[in-house]
Structure formats: C-alpha cells, structure tokens
C-alpha cells in the first residue's frame, strides 16, 4: 500500500513540479492561462465524447440530431453549451497565453522550441474550432465554411485542388461533413494531445515557467524555492475550479443557438466567417485575395515562428515588456494601431476601392502591401533613431502594432459589418 501511494505521488509530481521558484507563483505573472487552456481541453474532450454518442454526421441527420440533443436529452443543452463555450474560450485563453509568454520574455533561450510548439497547438485549436463549426449544419455554419474553404481557392497554383480536397467535391456537401467530422473528432484532438505532452515536458525541461525579474537586474542564479504540493497544485485546483464554474454559468445563461437547417440555395445576408477568422474576411474586403489569404498570413506566421530565433541585443528573459522604455514604445504602437487601422478601413471603403487604373492584384494587392510595409519599417526606424529604442523594444512595438491592427479588423468584421458587408453602426 505504501508503495502504491508513493507511485501515485511520484506520478503527479512528474506531471507537476516537486519544487519551483516562489516568484513564479504570483497570479499576475502568468494569470494561470496555460493551465486554464489545459482544463478547457479536458472539458472539451469529455463533453465532445458525450456528444459523439448523439451526433450523426450526414447532411440529412446532422441538424436533427443536434435538435434532438437540445430538446430530448437530459442535460443535452448543458453539454453542448459547455462544449461551445469551452471551445470559444480556449481560443481567447490560448491567445492571451501567447501574449503573456511574449510580454514576459518567456520565448527565448531554452524556451525557443516551446514557443513554436505552442504556435502549432494554437493552429490545432483553430482547426478544431473551425471543423467543429460545420457540424451543426445550420445556415450560419454552412455558409461560414463555404466562405472559408472558398478562400483556399485563391492560393496560386494549387488553390483549386486544395479547395476541392477540403470540401471533398466542388461544393460543401456530405463529403465535406464527413471529412470535417473525422478531423474534428480524431485527427486534431490526437495531434493536440500529443503536442500538449510535448509542451508540458518542455516547460519542465526549462525548469518551469520563466522567473520574473526587474529590468536591469541580473537573471536570478539562485531563486527562493517552494514545494509543488501544496503551494502550486492547490493554486491550480482553485483556478481550474473557478474556470469550470464560469464555463458552467456561460453554458446555462448563454446557451448556443441552433439556426435553421443549411440551405445551399440561399446565402444569408451578411454571411460571416467564425469570429476568429473574421479578421481575415475583413482583410479580404481591402486586399486582393492573393495578399489577404496568402502573402499577409504567411508573413505573419513566418514572423511569429522566427521571432525567438532572431538576433538579440539584450537578454530580456523574465522582464515584463522588456524594460520601462519597452512599455512606452509598446503603448505608442498600440495607440497608433488603434487610430490608424479604423482610418485606413474607412478611407479604403470611401475612396480607394473604386480605383481601376491597374489590375486588382497590383492596385489592391502589391501596392497597398508595399506602402504599409514601408510605413511599418519607417515606424520602427523612428522608434530606433528618435526614441533610442533597443532592437528588442522596437521589434516588440511592431508586434504590438500588428496585433492591435488584427484585433481592430476582427472587431470591425464582427460588429461593424451589416447587410452586404457594408460598414454599419452596431446599435
């Protein structure tokens, strides 16, 4: 018996650290976002497995089977609500986790690879959400998936093939549903689970989360340690329990809707992508598809992956926003993004879209892309030359600028686009 207890104890202390630096325990250092993501994934697996028992992945039965789950099954709406809210919260929490890691300087040194693993997991989370979006087979989901898979068609060369492979035919239909169902219930969850193991192991190999420090002080060589049980694990249990309670409340008071069954003959007006892809849809309105769908996302993803591997001047591991000056430049970038992006959207909507002096790929693609790229490089140079920002602070400001711009695009697409995707007030 004593042996068993020891095995149990060692198992858990292999999952969670036996000892860890006291400073990393502070809630406002990590906000528990990584742990929250893990809790949400567990909730998703449990509720998802339950719903698999009720769901039938064919166009004739999909909508009906969800309706049956909603009206005839004990706790059916609650299970679906939990799944829905966990999935949507997971995107938000994972994105916040990415920002936390970025701004606390926890992506360099031994954590480089884990940053890339984390990005891959984010891709899995998005894929998981998107493939799940189709399954209710109502008007909203059918047309959102039509639009998003339609975007694939603009990849030069292989676009048509990609689109047909994703849809399993020319239009979204029975084959699309079975492909999405398979990806959603097996391929993506398995990939995500494997990556989670990898991710946690890399955190342990980096000796836990990054130890916070003040700018200008050296990396603490010998920080004060405490025990994993109870100091860490109890905190984690509290965060997890509160999170589950919040998801429960959301599922009960804001139950997900089920629209009218999909009708391939009639697109709703407006037809929008799921909220996490609305930023790309908004980009589509302003840029030629080649740039909105291929060039800009590729540059962004490549930049994110490469970020921890680029040349660095100062070690900012554990320093929030790099330094006091970094906080200031990040603030300037955020403000610029908040002001410039809406102005550019309105300017494009009012005056620029009707220009037809050149092929669209130049006038709505290459030219605006180059102008914006030059503007961003110019902004970075001003920070470097005028404000004497370090290389890290300037790069961080560019990251903030891009992030804020994408957030503004998403907000515009979700709330400020009405019938025919015209700009409207949300009230």
């Amino acid at each position: 018996m004593a042996d068993q207890a020891r095995v149990r104890k060692f198992f858990f202390l292999h999952m969670r650290p036996n000892r860890l630096p006291v400073a990393t325990l502070r809630f406002t250092h990590t906000f528990g976002l990584g742990g929250m993501s893990a809790v949400l994934v567990i909730l998703l697996i449990l509720t998802g497995a339950l719903m698999m028992l009720a769901y039938e992945p064919t166009p004739d039965r999909a909508h009906d089977s969800i309706l049956g789950l909603q009206t005839e099954t004990l706790f059916g709406p609650l299970i679906r609500g939990l799944h829905y809210w966990s999935a949507n919260l997971l995107i938000a929490v994972a994105l916040l986790h990415l920002l936390r890691v970025f701004f606390t300087g926890a992506k360099d040194g031994p954590r480089k690879l884990n940053w890339v693993i984390g990005l891959t997991m984010l891709a899995c989370v998005l894929a998981s959400n998107f493939t799940g979006y189709l399954l209710p087979w109502d008007q909203l989901s059918y047309w959102a998936v039509t639009i998003c898979t339609g975007m694939l068609g603009y990849v030069p060369g292989v676009g048509g093939w990609l689109q047909e492979a994703a849809r399993g035919g020319r239009d979204v239909g029975p084959t699309t549903l079975i492909i999405f169902y398979t990806l959603h219930t097996t391929v993506v969850p398995v990939a995500l689970a494997l990556l989670m193991g990898f991710h946690f192991w890399r955190v342990r190999k980096a000796r836990g989360v990054v130890v916070p420090r003040q700018a200008g002080t050296p990396v603490p060589a010998d920080p004060e340690f405490t025990r994993g049980w109870p100091d860490l694990i109890l905190r984690e249990l509290v965060v997890g329990t509160v999170l589950v309670a919040v998801v429960m409340m959301l599922a009960i008071f804001f139950a997900p809707e089920l629209g009218t069954p999909a009708n391939p003959g009639m697109s709703p007006n407006p037809a929008k992508a799921p909220w996490y892809f609305v930023g790309f849809q908004e980009l589509q309105i302003h840029f030629h598809p080649m740039f909105a769908i291929l060039v800009i996302p590729l540059v962004a993803v490549a930049g994110l992956i490469w970020w921890p591997y680029r040349r660095r001047e100062v070690d900012q591991t554990g320093v929030l926003f790099g330094s006091g000056a970094g906080r200031r430049t990040a603030g300037i970038a955020a403000l610029l993004g908040l002001i410039a992006t809406p102005l550019l959207i309105i300017a494009d909507e009012m005056w620029l879209q009707t220009t037809t002096w050149a092929p669209s790929v130049i006038s709505h693609g290459l030219l605006p892309f180059l102008i914006l790229a030059v503007a961003v490089v110019g902004f970075r140079m001003i920070l470097r030359k005028q404000l004497n920002a370090t290389r890290e602070d300037a790069d961080q400001a560019v990251f903030v600028l891009m992030g804020v711009a994408f957030a503004v695009l998403t907000i515009t697409g979700v709330w400020f686009r009405g019938a025919g995707m015209a700009l409207v007030w949300p009230w």
């Binding site: 047909e164 035919g169 492909i179 007006n269 037809a271 589509q284 709505h364 025919g420 995707m421």
Partner: protein, 170 residues
C-alpha cells in the same frame, strides 16, 4: 557491457549496424508514404462517383417563348439561372459567386446579381460590375433543340468576362 554497446551504436565504421539504421529509416518513410497514399485514395472514389452522376445531365428548361427577353429565371433544382438577354440570346449562369462561393440572388429592381457575402455585383450577362469578385459568373453550355432550351450541367465553363460568343441564339 552497456558502455560497450553504446559505443558500438555510435561507431560509424560498423557497416552492418549502419546499414540496419538506414534500412529502418527507409522502411519508416515507406510506411508513412503508404498511409498518406491510402488517406488520399480514401477521398478519391467518392469524388469520381459524383462526377459520373453529374456527367451527361441535360436539364430541360422549357420552350423558348416562356422566357421574356431581358429576364432572369431561377432553377433551384439545377444550380443555375437562365438569363435571356435583350437581344433574345440565352446564357445559363452558375449561381455560385466566383469570389468565395456564396449563392448569388438576382435582384430584379436593380437588374443585377448581388452577392450577400462580400458585396460583389454582376450584371445580367454575369460580368463583374463591382469587386471583390474578379471573374464573371461561371456558365453552363446551352443548346436549343426544336425550340426547347436545354442546359448541359455536366461541367461548368469558367471565363474571365462576357463575350458575345458565349450567348446561344434561338
């Protein structure tokens, strides 16, 4: 003992060990390829079957006189609109927007097709009046036999813009 073994595995001058290591790699690659091949093949037969079902589908729209010049008629059972231009010629237009694949409704008051998703606009011939769509609506071949309009749904015809050669005259 373990010490000797670990030394052996690292020694590049042992041809047999080296050979086996490479053989494992090749086998692993083959197995991976095989699974990918099977995966892709799983997706294929269903597609082929659908193509066969589509092939040779001739849709009989009706007699020529039923369609007024300058009118657009929707055929929900075949995914197309039959447009009769002012000159009396026929065009069968696919109802899928060439931008991202939404279904485009015909707006009679404005005499144009307006996509609800991204506000692309097409005229009665399917030509683009307003982006983001950059290609005219796809067409189906139209034939007129003994005064009956027939549409060949076996394959869409992609085109950049409208040309008079695309119109079928009765």
């Amino acid at each position: 003992m373990t010490d000797i073994e670990s030394k052996e595995t690292r020694d590049p001058d042992l041809p047999r060990r080296n050979f086996f290591r490479k053989a494992w790699l090749v086998l692993g690659a083959l197995v991976t390829l095989q699974f990918l091949w099977i995966g892709f093949d799983m997706l294929r037969p269903r597609k082929r079957r659908r193509r066969d079902a589509d092939a040779g589908t001739i849709y009989t729209a009706g007699p020529v006189e039923r369609f007024e010049p300058g009118s657009v008629t929707a055929f929900p059972e075949g995914p197309f609109y039959l447009a009769r231009l002012d000159g009396g010629g026929f065009l069968a237009l696919n109802r899928t927007c060439t931008h991202l694949g939404c279904t485009v409704p015909w707006i009679e008051e404005d005499r144009q097709f307006a996509c609800p998703c991204h506000a692309s606009v097409f005229d009665i011939t399917g030509a683009v009046l307003s982006p983001p769509a950059d290609r005219a609506l796809d067409m189906y071949a139209v034939r007129i036999e003994n005064g009956i309009v027939k549409v060949d749904l076996s394959g869409v015809i992609k085109r950049q813009g409208f040309e008079t050669a695309q119109v079928t005259m009765p």
